[in-house]
């Protein structure tokens, strides 16, 4: 199987799925579901059968890299693609595209979900800067279509999302053209080689600044301060699909750009830039504090969705092997836990009619299944063992201590402590707090089986990630790091990092 089929599959299906929607919306949705399942199976099958030994590269367009377009696949990108397909499948299965479209002609949601999934998958595999820009724009277009299908109240949010996102993408393109003008190449690896030869620190600094500016809005999605009216109107199913993926895909793209293209060894970070990086970490982590005042599950999760990216940004700022391992592990575990948290918000609305935190007192005793899901997903997001979230945060904290970055270590510790307190408060509310006005549980059939299944899949996947973290780290994450980082020896030898050696 050609490795590029992994991301070409949804693109090939977009048009048939959209055409089918004109005749039969159910068939269109069924075809999109089949493509998502095929994507998960192809990714997992490819992972276990062929790609596991290491890196695969495929030229496209008739020329070899760096002149032609190169698709490069490492086990981590296959795993990430499988995760994207899984979330697309769960989104379609749980409800995106199930309700009747409220606007803009035939229901384009299934086709848009495939376009969005394919674009995000391509962002992890493509090694050509201009292609990366095209896929960012395609993902924005798909996101805009998905939002607009919610009806007349969402036309304006969809317009803003697409236009503001496209302006951001223009800055991204400006950064790419700036780097192209300076080095004459659009290939990520070739760019790194050119920067190594030129040792042009201005090119790296300004190029990096434009790229960061271009992806800033995506990283902040769906911060309630910026997207509050938007969140109030968007269907929870769509929020559960978009919110975990937009910010984390932008972060993964930044990882590729910072470390595979601009990560020339010896680049000295200017003092002002270093301060801005640390401020960015604090800015994201402050989302934990901002979210603590919210009164509904959905809004708290929206804040958490942005706040937890602070851990990933901290990993990028630290920039060592251990830190990058922690950051990538965090990206995966966050995507699983956040999707689960958003689905839990839907479960609460279906089962008890509200997701107001104050009215959930004692719910754990009456709905033990939901309470178990809260505990499993919460352990992952808060970072408690034995979940993937714990190990991601552990590596980040370890990297901060190894590098004697006391300020970042303190910021990470404060955010971690705050999350633990918040998680404990939630558990106390669910299990211990006396019920003043107990909410009646609606009929069990009110919560669809697909939603329950999706929640369990996401919760158990987070747990499995933690239990198999050593294998994940050794076979998936470490080969995904740039070569210079794969042979780096940590100054402090601890478990996990020792195995990688």
């Amino acid at each position: 199987m050609r490795p590029d089929l992994l991301f070409l599959l949804p693109f090939a299906a977009v048009f048939p799925v959209w055409v089918l929607a004109w005749f039969d919306a159910r068939l269109s949705r069924a075809l999109a579901l089949a493509v998502a399942v095929a994507g998960v199976l192809a990714a997992l099958g490819g992972f276990f059968a062929k790609f596991s030994p290491g890196l695969m590269a495929a030229p496209m367009g008739g020329w070899a890299a760096p002149w032609g377009i190169e698709i490069r696949i490492v086990p981590f990108t296959i795993f990430w693609t499988a995760l994207l397909y899984l979330l697309a499948f769960l989104g379609l299965w749980v409800g995106v595209g199930r309700e009747k479209s409220a606007g803009l002609g035939p229901d384009a949601a299934p086709a848009a979900i495939l376009l969005f999934t394919g674009s995000l998958a391509a962002l992890g595999m493509d090694r050509d800067l201009f292609d990366l820009y095209l896929f960012v724009e395609l993902a924005l277009l798909a996101g805009g279509i998905l939002i607009a299908r919610g009806g007349r109240d969402l036309y304006w949010p969809a317009f803003r999302f697409t236009l503001a996102g496209s302006l951001g993408a223009s800055f991204l393109l400006l950064g790419f053209l700036y780097l192209y003008a300076g080095t004459g190449t659009l290939n990520l690896d070739d760019l790194l080689s050119q920067l190594l030869i030129d040792k042009n620190e201005d090119l790296i600094g300004f190029g990096g600044a434009w790229l960061t500016l271009g992806l800033a809005l995506a990283l902040l999605f769906p911060a309630p301060g910026l997207f509050s009216a938007f969140l109030a109107r968007l269907s929870p199913e769509l929020t559960a699909f978009l919110a975990p993926l937009v910010g984390r895909s932008a972060a993964l793209l930044l990882f590729s750009l910072y470390f595979c293209a601009l990560g020339a060894p010896g680049f000295q970070t200017p003092l002002g830039l270093a301060a801005a990086e640390q401020a960015a970490v604090v800015f994201f982590l402050a989302g934990f504090w901002a979210g603590s005042g919210e009164k509904t599950w959905g809004k708290v999760t929206a804040f958490l969705s942005v706040a937890v990216l602070g851990y990933v940004v901290a990993g990028f700022v630290l920039g060592s092997t251990t830190a990058l391992q922690g950051a990538l592990l965090e990206l995966v575990s966050q995507s699983l836990a956040l999707a689960g948290f958003f689905y839990l918000s839907i479960w609460l609305r279906d089962a008890v009619g509200t997701d107001e935190l104050a009215r959930l007192a004692g719910l754990g005793r009456r709905a033990p299944g939901a309470a178990a899901l809260f505990i499993l997903l919460g352990l992952n997001l808060a970072g408690l063992p034995p979940t993937g979230g714990f190990y991601g945060k552990y590596y980040l904290f370890e990297a901060a201590l190894q590098q004697r970055q006391w300020f970042l270590a303190l910021a990470l510790l404060a955010a971690y402590g705050f999350t633990l307190v918040y998680f404990a408060r939630g558990a106390w509310r669910l299990f211990v707090r006396p019920e003043e006005n107990p909410l009646p549980l609606l009929h069990p059939k009110k919560t669809p089986a697909s939603l329950n299944a999706a929640l369990w899949i996401l919760a158990l996947a987070g747990l499995a990630l933690g239990l198999a973290h050593k294998t994940f780290l050794k076979d998936l994450i470490t080969p995904a790091l740039p070569k210079a980082f794969q042979h780096w020896t940590p100054p402090v030898e601890t478990w996990g990092t020792k195995d990688v050696e």
């Binding site: 201009f130 949010p157 400006l174 053209l177 003008a181």
Partner: protein
């Protein structure tokens, strides 16, 4: 890339940014973004040469992508005018914040 080419690209991009930021009407905002894109397109073109036709080929991609996004935005703007009776971004934001 000559100073004239770089200057023209910069001028178009800055004009686009200024229109995008200062104008409230949605079609003007779209026009501002298209100007930014055309500035970037001009910059891309100026990086090419007879020996290197790649930027010209990429310009075609950029053109079609800008066209697709602009069309989608114009369709949304048309629906907004029909539903909300306005194309003013400030009025639309005010209407959105109403409960």
């Amino acid at each position: 890339m000559s100073a004239f080419e770089a200057g023209l690209a910069l001028l178009l991009a800055f004009m686009g940014l200024w229109i995008f930021a200062s104008q409230a009407l949605l079609p003007r905002k779209i026009f501002g973004w298209v100007l930014v894109q055309s500035g970037l397109g001009f910059l891309l073109l100026s990086l090419g040469s007879k020996a290197n036709p790649l930027p010209a080929a990429l310009l075609l991609d950029l053109f079609f992508l800008t066209l697709a996004i602009s069309l989608f935005l114009l369709i949304l703007a048309r629906h907004l005018r029909r539903e909300k009776r306005t194309l003013d971004s400030r009025t639309l934001s005010r209407l959105e914040s109403l409960p």
